[in-house]
């Protein structure tokens, strides 16, 4: 009886496009869905620092280096905003990190691909952040307040990420023949993994139905993917590069491009741990966490000691 009344209030909130806040009653599955989605999002930001961090020491100029450092620092910040948003749902930071480190939690499949050349840093900023922004713009209106607020902050900060990536691509695409080839090679390798970032096709997406019903998501995977293709193809043309898809063609009737689906078998493989860099990424995260333990212990001991001195005085 009580439960039904709470559920009514919850449903009417969603119907009125109002936000759900941490202390509001919510169905257990809504809470679980959010914890899974927000923590995966947070893990993606944190693991996403690794492929780009790979190039900080080898950035081709001091300007490129400070830009990349600022971007990677932002990703770390975004991970922290998202972890605290997830924690408002009653899960602890320790639990969340432990799920990442043991491989129990997932993160975006895209970060399991290697950044082989400097052009990859351009492609990651331009394509990967471009795709992420498309998803995150939608999530600014997600139904859970703390998640939506974190997204607003993240979107504000991310807009420079995509631009810096595109700037790298323009330098290479309008540079020497070798540089242009390097840009094309990066586009060839990142195009399909980026397309996978929006998730499986709507017909095979197990979590989509609830996410849409609860207004956690407001657009489907396929809708976002189509939007991304429509937005990106003119940018590829501007660069004088070619999308690695023979079936790519403007379709006047749907006012959008027809395109080939990415290889969903590869997607499943990478998600389940068999991508080119999965092991390396998890090892790096575990190592950083373990080697940082003494800092946390020292900070904790220092705080405890200071408190004792303060209380004794």
């Amino acid at each position: 009886m009580e439960e039904n009344k709470f559920e009514e209030v919850f449903e009417s909130k969603l119907a009125k496009n109002e936000m759900v806040e941490p202390k509001d009653w919510m169905p257990e599955n809504y809470r679980k869905h959010l914890i899974r989605q927000i923590s995966q999002h947070a893990h993606s930001e944190i693991v996403g620092m690794l492929p780009e961090g790979n190039w900080i020491t080898r950035a081709p100029s001091l300007r490129a280096k400070v830009v990349l450092l600022a971007k990677v620092q932002d990703e770390g910040g975004h991970g922290l905003y998202l972890y605290t948003a997830a924690e408002t749902l009653g899960v602890s930071r320790d639990e969340l990190l432990n799920n990442l480190h043991t491989g129990k939690a997932k993160y975006s499949s895209i970060f399991n691909y290697p950044t082989l050349t400097w052009a990859d840093i351009g492609a990651v900023g331009w394509l990967v952040d471009g795709a992420a922004i498309m998803n995150q713009v939608m999530l600014q209106r997600t139904s859970y307040g703390p998640y939506a607020r974190a997204m607003v902050r993240i979107c504000k900060e991310e807009s420079f990420h995509q631009r810096q990536g595109f700037e790298i691509m323009t330098h290479l695409a309008f540079g020497t023949a070798d540089q242009k080839a390097m840009a094309q090679d990066a586009l060839n390798r990142w195009w399909y993994p980026t397309m996978m970032m929006f998730g499986p096709p709507d017909s095979e997406s197990p979590n989509s139905e609830n996410a849409l019903k609860w207004r956690i998501k407001r657009e489907t995977n396929d809708q976002l993917r189509q939007k991304f293709v429509n937005q990106t193809v003119p940018q590829v043309e501007y660069l004088g590069l070619t999308v690695p898809d023979k079936n790519l063609k403007w379709n006047e009737s749907k006012k959008g491009y027809d395109y080939s689906e990415p290889d969903w078998v590869e997607f499943k493989n990478v998600i389940s741990g068999n991508g080119p860099c999965n092991k390396q990424r998890l090892l790096a995260r575990n190592k950083a966490h373990k080697e940082g333990a003494w800092v946390r212990e020292a900070a904790q001991a220092f705080a405890r000691k200071r408190k004792e001195v303060y209380e004794a005085a």
Binding site: K23, D24, D74, E87, N98, R153, E297, Q300, F302
Partner: protein
């Protein structure tokens, strides 16, 4: 497995001198100094503020969603608390 991340703090930022402090998010820190420094690094990377309040989350007292009715409704029928309730003669103009 469990290794402490420190307690949670709520962070409030003042954008410019004279403006109110607004909640911008939370973070983990072991003590006051660390809370301030972490808040600086996490929430003001682009000059978003000139002053920070860091408050231990467990020190915050919050109203409950279930109490919205009894807690806030008494204000709804007191229209005489608003200036629009009163008629001012046209001859007086702005008041």
């Amino acid at each position: 497995m469990s290794d402490n991340q420190g307690p949670v703090w709520e962070i409030f930022l003042q954008k410019k001198a004279g403006q109110p402090f607004v909640h911008c998010g939370s973070l983990h820190a072991f003590d006051k100094e660390m809370a301030l420094q972490n808040a600086r690094d996490l929430y003001t990377r682009r000059g978003e503020g000139v002053s920070i309040w860091a408050v231990p989350s467990n020190a915050i007292v919050a109203s409950s969603p279930e109490d919205i009715g009894p807690f806030f409704e008494p204000a709804n029928d007191k229209v005489y608390r608003h200036p629009t309730f009163y008629q001012i003669p046209d001859a007086i103009g702005h008041m």
